[in-house]
Amino acid sequence: MRHSGTVVLWACVSALVILVITLPINLQTQLVASIAVVTFMAVIKVLRAEGIWRLIALAFGTAIVLRYVYWRTTSTLPPLNQLENFIPGFLLYLAEMYSVMMLALSLFVVALPLPSRKGSVTPLERLPSVDVFVPSYNEDIGLLANTLAAAKAMDYPADKMTIWLLDDGGTEQKRNAAAVVEAQVAAARHAELQALCRDLGVNYLTRARNEHAKAGNMNNGMLHSKGELIAIFDADHAPARDFLRETVGYFADDPKLFLVQTPHFFLNPDPLERNLRTFEKMPSENEMFYGIIQRGLDKWNASFFCGSAAVLRRTALNEAGGFSGLSITEDCETALALHSRGWNSVYVDKPLIAGLQPATFASFIGQRSRWAQGMMQILRFRFPLFKSGLSLPQRLCYMSSMLFWLFPFPRTIFLFAPLFYLFFDLEIFTASGGEFLGYTLAYMLVNLMMQNYLYGSFRWPWISELYEYVQSVHLLPAVVSVMLNPTKPTFKVTAKDESIAVARLSEISRPFFVIFAVLFVAFLMSIYRFYAEPYKADVTFVVGAWNLLNLLIAGCALGVVSERSEKAASRRVTVKRRCTFLSEGREYPATLENVSANGARVQVFGLEDHIATGAEGALQFKPYGGDHEEALPVEIRNTETAGNVMVIGCRFTPQDARHHSLVADLIFANSNQWSDFQVSRRYNPGIFRGTLWFLGIAAYQTSRGLIYFARSLGGRKGEATS
């Protein structure tokens, strides 16, 4: 072996560390060591030392965590003969050990993530032929038109690129459905999409039966196409012009490469971001995954297929028999199958597509349920740890990705554990106040610091906990059901184009209020017991603080499930682009401020204020791929004067397919604008400021959730009386 010296050295050092960690030292020594380590880590963090210091800081944290594990295992479990304490105590212990194991796996994955790749350029004449698949089931035609137009506009030789709309909404099975209304809708969709495709110059393909959902649809696409590479975009994921340019080059570099995956960038906020109003300033949830974890996976050749925004090699897929459809997350399953056959993957850390994510809390939960259930299915059917053909790091990486979805169990246990003490007086964690300070507090601090160190600018403090909590409430039953019946879940397409006209409580918000009420009672109980039972005030204090933390998160979640109304149907993207505004035959110089899928906001120079709302006009600009200016018809919605420029809000009125291409060009063509937006949100507030900020949010969102709740009760009463 090439690096056996390094491995032996590392193993020796690790053995020494384990030896020192498992010494049964006394509490004073532990406390002093903890203080030393926390101080050391804080210094490294404050100095923002990187490189080798990153690993050193992580090693410090790991050592403290391992000491906690040693202590937790050897001295805190309730005695076995007190079953009423032991069973919940052991569950809590398991939950903590799961968290530690996940920490270990994620440390392995992200200890030294690959930096962003430079890009790989292939000479024009050696570019491979590419089939672009846009699988669709029931998406809106306007949405599809934008995506297809953006795909068509990609910077790639036209003779080497074929766009395919793979329509599962217009299959023969659907068109001949027994229910007449559905059949009619399917037939109309079939005809409309065929026309759209003809206009845009893309291929329309449907099939006889809706077998194996998305995987079956794409396999059907593979049967009818023959490009060397296959690029896949979800119906709402519109690619930028440079998508193929940035990705296909890697396939020439590595003949065993089967996948180039790129991040998913979303134009609209998820329900948490929308209801907490954090979209503009806080990094999105998936940025931690695409910004760090995929890069970490990439180091170990284990970055996996995420269903869209990726390019795959046809020969690799053929070898594995196409896309796997055993689970409802066919993407990850396919990647696992190909990795185990010795194929490689690459991750390009640059947003090259822009898409939509579920807008309502219910569809957000629906999407997450699918991911969680799918991952559980893969875990069950293709257990990656023992799958032959994978390298050891790949096994660990896949285990990390799958086991992550077990989080509803520990999250639930952490939520309810304090209640065992507060309500039933059970002692499920035997430790004194001093030990809590020396071990548990040090562990928690170090944990927070490590998280902040690893993910600081991608994930702010306590946000992971909030996301996990809001999902756990509904994901726990979903995960349990897939465990009991692994073949039962079926693929359901997540709705992403919903909009919320009026502010309301989510239809699945009820459990959150119940949990909040229970935790609040427990909070009162902890205050009562603190004063009523002074002889165990220290334990009550610790447990009460834990419950208070749960209460804060649960309160914040009330805000998440209280859906704010959203004015713009789709999100605006800021652009700065010169254009010409055409109105009544005259041309005015103008600048585009921002655009959405439906309209734009333009600064027009020299326009007198005689223009009326409802009037028709056009925007004339030069698309990125074109060589001459083209006009996009618009309808004026509102105007306002700002000095010598007039700001006009207008709605696109696309009349033919080319107009869709122009809209797509405005929104999607330039991928840099998305990177810039992401970077603008990426900064690390630090643990203290982040925690303070979270406390503020939690207090505000709790009150907002309760007000929505009161209003919904009032509304129902109103309905009943009227």
Binding site: H3, P24, I52, L437, E533
Partner: protein, 782 residues
Amino acid sequence: MRFAPAAAVGLGLFLALSASTAFAQEAAVPFDMTGERGPTADQKPSEGNSGTATPTTTQVEQKPVVKPPARRYIVSAPSLMLEGEVASRSFPIYLTKDEAAGADALNLGYSNAVVVAPEASRLTVVINDVPVGEMPVQSAEGTKEVRLNLPAGLLRPGINRVTFNATHRHRTDCTIRSTYDLWTAVDPARTFLTLPDAPTSRLQTMDDIPAIGVGPAGQTKFIMVLPEMGQPAATNALMRLSQGLAMMAKMPNQTFDVVDTMPATLGAGELAVVLGTAGDLSPILPRLPATAASSAVATFVDAPAGNGKVLAVSGPDWPSIESAVEGIVSPIDRPLGVMREALSVRQRNAAEMPLVSGETTLTLAALGVRTGEFSGRRFRTGFDIGIPSDFYADAYGEATLLLDAAYAPDVLPGSHFDVYVNGNLASTVPFNSRNGGIFRHLPIRVTMRHLRPGPNRIDIEAILLTQADAVCAPGASALQEPRFALFDSSELRVPNFARIGQMPSLAALSGTAFPYNGQTDPAALYLDRLDSDTLSTGATFLGRLAVSGGRALQVRPESSALAIGDRNAILIGTLSQLPPLVLSQTHIAAESASTWGAPVAGDNQRAGTQEAIDEWQSRVRGGAWRSQVAAFQTWLQETFDISFSSLRLLPGEEQEVVPDDSAQFLIAQGDSPDHTATWTVLSAPTGASLKAGMAAVAQDARWQQLDGYATLDDKASDSLDTRQVSRARFVPTQPWSFSNMRLIAANWLSSNILSYALAFCGLSLLLGMATWGLLRRFGRQS
């Protein structure tokens, strides 16, 4: 209730009179006001003996017409206190055949605290598991004597176990604090077996030596008559014989008095031993067997004064005397390499004391604690365990008490269960349930910090608060409803602990005579001069060590301290006579050789200032915020006990000992010049204080306090002044094993806290760097 049934014939008239008086008063007065009744006896008669009641009086000296019955004192301590609401003391007495057959009664003298409620408090005497007397505790005003007749055949030759059980209740108070005011003191001078027709000499043969017994103050004394004291050859035999005798008697407070003339009389608990060649002895011991002139003898012979017998060890010359001594010692000696399973400390407690030398589980039943129910507010019981001399887990060790116990629903939360190790609080478990509770093997972690080599006392105590006690209605203190029960199925579980000898360690010396115990080469014994004081000191010390170590130690007298070289050694002498090298090796300030004992100006100024500052600090602590901070500080201090001195990287140096004026005696230990052997120094300013100090330190209560690298005996104070070791030399005692090394490291790092933090951080740093190197070489490179 059965008291004193048998009659003592000659005392008839006088005793009958006083008995009737006592009876009349007893009927009239509900509370016992013994002291007001003057010097007459206060024996309460019981049925069946009204005519021939036999109370004794405190004035036995009023010689009656016949010879008073001989007394065999049984309490081997200067005092025997039964304290708290429930207390029990148990100890063995070793009786000769004559004594076992002849003793007809136990005379018990006791007094108790005024606040003890007699109607609710009882004192019980049990001998060999047979109750021989039970009485209300009612001797608040002076000592009261009770005669308890013993059934024939109850006592056995050899070991008998005597147990005093007391239950006390307060007259008026129901608080926990009040339970500390409850006591009964058994007076050793008035507690004895009466032997109506005992022979003049109790001890007749060598086998009777363990029955030497105690004097009225709990003392045992061997008077070693050594006519040729100054003869170096005598020293070896004397020391060897002293150890042999000490091990035979095994009394807790035994001393050796080396004299050159025959004592005029012998008191209780004393034995005279005559040691010398036949030629030396013939002037003082006419009845020495004639064979002594030709061969070694060791036998009891009549004392010249005619008042009993003395042990004579003699022979034609010293080598033959040594062989006679060897004949006495070797049958009871323990061969090298044979491990003890229990410490032979029968004299402290009737139960054998198991020697816990590694992973052990002991039930309370095996430790001599019985299942018991308790209706008071402070339950306390305890047991003893022995710890080997190479115990090294004081910083990290934790034992577990698996408690089987129950408490009643009326016990309020806030009550707790405490474990004490050698008087130090080692663990507290609160009772939190409002509905009572049953513990089944509830694990209680008990720190091993306060354990020390040798015998250790572990007390378990339950503090029980109830609403009834808070109200404290009249008579409430005496309610009989049980509140707490302790079951003897509870277990003490001791894990494997680190074992390595540390030198110096006077605790190991007092506990198991380490390091002199078990060594193959004889240790050097240096006596500054061969006089009565020095030899007495040496004999007492070695006798004490032999009992602690369970074997006679090999010693070789040396006439020069400088000739010792690098051997283990014991050096005894006045400080001014000891060579400077010895003083410096044992951390005794050289100047004290001339200053100790001479009056000097006190250096109390600085200490006084510090005390004043501390006092002011505690006075100034006020105000809500201040008190919160102070409470947190106190909590930190109590919980973690971290001080600047404990925050250390490496152990510091020992400070030199400068004995102050009030000290009369010191024991100090240090390394030999090349740090391979251990020297122990016993010293004092004068020969007289050397002997007196050794005799005081040899008393069981003080001997158990020996600790650190130096211990000073203070004339004024009851406790010893010990100086803790900071830098110990490790002496491997166990075969090398990884697990032992790991535990030793754990203890060392737990004592040198910063070293652990440094090792922890250093290794983490290394791990980080090694991981960086590893990750850079594996996976895709950036």
